[in-house]
């Protein structure tokens, strides 16, 4: 049995994290071959793995139509609770480069920019070593390190930085006016790695894992009260409990889970553990996969205190451009700290949807979920008590560095 065949039959074997197993990338030179590959990506039902979950084929087609495009492989991962892109770029950089080269051929781009966070020098080193090992004709390849800010990876903020501006969002659509003013495909590195797999094995193979509506595997960062925190690759639809098992299992009694990162939402552990890891599966809880991070909050931690810390962090990470974000995010953090639930309910609709990017929306969703899930804890704090016996912070925060 060949290595590839063996890896096909084991449903737990990795695809994205299987380095050195996939063999050379097929060359798509003729128009007809490229059209065929575009059809495969569409048939595979691949969606963006960066958080927004937009259909990849639609995005590729839009940029291809515009002509003269640039491809940006987005490995910035400014979300402090997410490590999956850093792990992918370190373990399997060639698969990401394969995907970027393939995407460049599909959209007719002659330039690829790989963007990584400035603090992650190791990730950059792995990527540069991989790039040195190969020669991808017909395309110029650059690696750029961008500031370590939460919003730096937002597509328009990334384009803004690559054009010499600060890592702050703009109202320009990158697909229309991006790097050098040219139509730009900004695609998450995990999405690109999946493009490289579909280019090799096709849509049918891709759909052997996952659910019919949400096919494929995903990288999930599992943190908090688990025995081996880290990044696991699971098929979409895996019960959350099994995802946690893949990270060594629970290390303490779970109280709540933060699903989808800091733009995601808190859910009660008992409501979530049996649910499948898909957007459809999590919809009843009003949660989506987002950044595909699961943080397990143990019983002895204070969800309220954790949420205040993150709400303050998100307020600090506002790019400072849009009034409702500049004033609304600190106001939400203050209200949460003062246990003023009524004010939070008033602030959430006043903040969400009123920025140039979705930063205020994500922060509002996070705070709103904290108020709901930690209602008992808020009541306890009103009476001057806190459940926490362990004041070690569970949720990691970023460094809030430079904007340029």
């Amino acid at each position: 049995m060949s290595a590839v065949a063996a890896f096909r039959v084991d449903p737990r074997a990795p695809r994205l994290l299987a380095a050195g197993l996939h063999g050379p990338l097929p060359r798509f030179l003729r128009r007809r071959e490229l059209d065929g590959l575009m059809a495969e990506i569409e048939a595979a039902g691949l969606t963006g793995r960066g958080g927004a979950g937009f259909p990849t084929a639609v995005k590729l087609a839009a940029v291809a139509r515009a002509g003269g495009a640039v491809v940006v492989a987005n490995g910035t991962e400014g979300e402090p609770a997410s490590w999956k892109d850093k792990v992918l770029l370190s373990m399997n950089p060639h698969l990401v480069v394969d995907g970027a080269v393939t995407a460049a051929a599909l959209v007719g781009a002659s330039e690829i920019v790989f963007a990584v966070g400035r603090a992650n020098r190791t990730v950059r080193k792995h990527l540069e070593r991989a790039l040195d090992e190969r020669s991808d004709a017909d395309v110029d390849v650059f690696v750029e390190s961008v500031p370590d800010r939460f919003v730096a990876g937002e597509a328009s903020a990334l384009v803004n930085r690559l054009n010499g501006g600060p890592s702050k969002p703009t109202i320009q659509r990158p697909s229309v006016r991006g790097v050098h003013g040219r139509p730009t495909l900004v695609q998450n590195v995990e999405t690109l790695a999946n493009v490289a797999l579909i280019a090799r094995y096709g849509a049918g193979w891709f759909r052997e894992r996952g659910t019919p509506e949400e096919p494929g595997t995903v990288l999930v960062t599992v943190l908090g009260a688990v025995r081996s925190p880290g990044v696991v690759e699971v098929e979409l639809g895996t019960p959350i409990h099994d995802v946690i098992q893949r990270a060594g299992g629970l290390a303490a009694l779970p109280q709540a889970l933060l699903v989808g990162g800091y733009f995601g939402a808190w859910v009660r552990a008992r409501d979530a553990l049996e649910l499948p890891l898909t957007n459809a599966g999590l919809a009843p809880l009003g949660v989506s996969l987002g950044a595909r991070t699961i943080v397990v909050l143990p019983q002895d931690a204070c969800g309220l205190g954790e949420s205040v810390r993150v709400a303050r962090y998100l307020a600090r990470e506002s790019a400072g451009q849009c009034g409702p974000c500049v004033f609304g995010l600190p106001a939400m953090a203050d209200a949460l700290e003062r246990l003023d639930v009524d004010r939070i309910h008033r602030l959430v609709p006043l903040v969400a949807g009123r920025g140039a990017c979705s930063h205020p929306d994500g922060a509002a969703r996070f705070v709103a979920s904290a108020v709901e899930v930690f209602a008992d804890e808020i009541e306890r704090h009103r009476r001057g008590r806190c459940r926490s016996t362990n004041h070690e912070p569970v949720l990691p925060l970023g460094a809030s560095g430079e904007w340029r």
């Binding site: 969002p169 703009t170 109202i171 451009q321 849009c322 009034g323 409702p324 974000c325 004033f327 609304g328 006043l350 009123r354 920025g355 140039a356």
Partner: protein, 69 residues
């Protein structure tokens, strides 16, 4: 399909001068920090002249009228 007009705000440019709320009472309201809340729905035809004035008068040029199908 009939074309409708939408009032759009660029929240990056907006500094909360609040003139739009004065020129478009009942349509644009200011939040507690003085920033306009611009409804997403199609603009009532009768309000178009006032909206055009508000677009022209915005000191930050943050408002625009856009056609949408």
């Amino acid at each position: 399909m009939e074309m409708t007009m939408h009032l759009r705000l660029n929240p990056i440019l907006c500094d909360g001068y609040g003139q739009c709320a004065e020129l478009l009472p009942g349509l644009v309201e200011l939040d507690e920090w003085g920033y306009p809340i611009v409804p997403r729905r199609a603009l009532d035809r009768r309000l178009e002249p006032a909206a055009r004035r508000a677009v022209k008068m915005c000191p930050r040029l943050a408002l625009s009228l856009e056609r949408a199908a």
